[in-house]
Amino acid sequence: MPELPREIIKPKLLIGEGKEEERFFGALLTHLGIGDVQVEQYGGKQGLASYLKNLLVRPGYPALVSLGVTRDADISAREAFQSVYDTLRNIGLSTPDRPQTSATGRLRVGVFILPDGQRSGMLEDLCLSAIQAYPEWGCIEAYFQCITATANRQPANMSKARVHVWLASQVEADKQLGVAAEIGYWPWDNPPFDALKQFLRAL
């Protein structure tokens, strides 16, 4: 049976780049016991402007009180924030002054740049930060050193590769980042997640 068109049914909306982000944030919100935030994805960085323009005409938008926009920093957290800022301003939404904060207005708008608003990187880097203190972290690093030495190759995106190796070492070895969050593989109580949790609570 085809999926029903998605409606805005909660007063707060958190948006991420893709499906994995949607599942990841949904799992974290469940962990935090936050039930009034709806999570959606905007189809990648290029889709943000179209998604936000569409948001303004969706049924339920007038009742929305808060919007959280998340995005990977990629090579520069500053540039990523500026890009989101420009998109919000062009659409006519309120714009926060800096990442990890919210701007007040008819609709409160917050922007969170992953992994932490400062460094380059992505959601995967935030997750890796939370497990780097674990003893098995050395195993992950050793694995890639071995591959590099033996096969003379290295993944283009080391953060994604490290996450895959970490997840491959779990009891259920075939899970993606988002499903892993739903299962409980990411240690939510570790400090690297604190800023994101604070952002979600403040939405």
Binding site: R6, Y51, N54, V57, R58, P59
Partner: protein
Amino acid sequence: MYNSFTIKNFRCFRDLTLEPLERVNLITGKNNVGKTALLEALFLHLGPSNPSLALQVNTVRGVEQRAGDAEEMWEWLFFTRKVQETIELTGLDEDNTTRRLSIRLVESERAQLSPVTDTLTTTSGLRDLLLEHRDARGQISTTRVRADGATITRRGNGAPLPVGVYLSTRARTFKEDAARFSNLERVGRHEGLLPTLNLLEPRLRRLAVLVTGGVPIINGDIGIGELIPLPLMGEGMVRLLSILLAIANAPGGVVLVDEIENGLHHAVMTGVWEAIANLARKSQTQVFATTHSWECVQGAHQAFEASGTYDFRLHRLDRVGDDIQAVAYDRETLATSAEMNLEVR
């Protein structure tokens, strides 16, 4: 062609503006937000000197008028039944000219003897319906009608107006359809309808008007040895042919279709919209239709996206407090909705 349309104090609308308008406009929204009322307002605006329309719009909703109750029926035309206000329907055309119809109840010019009864009560005076139309050149014409339906006075003649056709969900228009079909057959355009009807009935190879029981009715040849009345081929067939005939017979006019998806399988919606788009462009007819169907919305978007000319707009009516507001979807917002499966209705 309307570029925008404003409704004040009519039915559930205190003040609503629908814009921008395109060649084809699809209206959506939850129940009881005024989708049908919007079509009624357009219909009244298209026939400003025809006072019977003010009662017809109730009749096609299934509210039958009894003798002497026209005043009460008229009162329900007014926003929250505030009859002291004036209904204003204003259309802005593509040539930037404005045409306005004002409707109000006024004290009747006739006297009435109070009926002799045992109860002593005072009654308010009788009222007439006054329609005042200011055309695109600023010329004013008025029509005053009594509750018994008699037109009392008509003053002034405005410029010719576009044809308006209203296809409601209830009314069956077999005779009108037969007449419209005959108009097309007279000029050899009737066969152009067949490819679209073949979406619903691939065996259909010919249409003809036959008189059955004194009533002209369109019949179809599906290769069974004799023609069969179109209504026997199903609700969708009749509905689709009515829509196509209305558009083809209203060159430069406006066709209003309530719940356009009725009787049509979702798989044919894109093809149906392609046909409507082509016919509306060819006839220079503007179309307003309502729907509750997501497949209908998607079908329309796909058809206009593929046609090369996106002369289509989706409008949703939302209730915000006591008011109704309109939200318009353009090509980009509708494409995003379709791609991401986001609700638009």
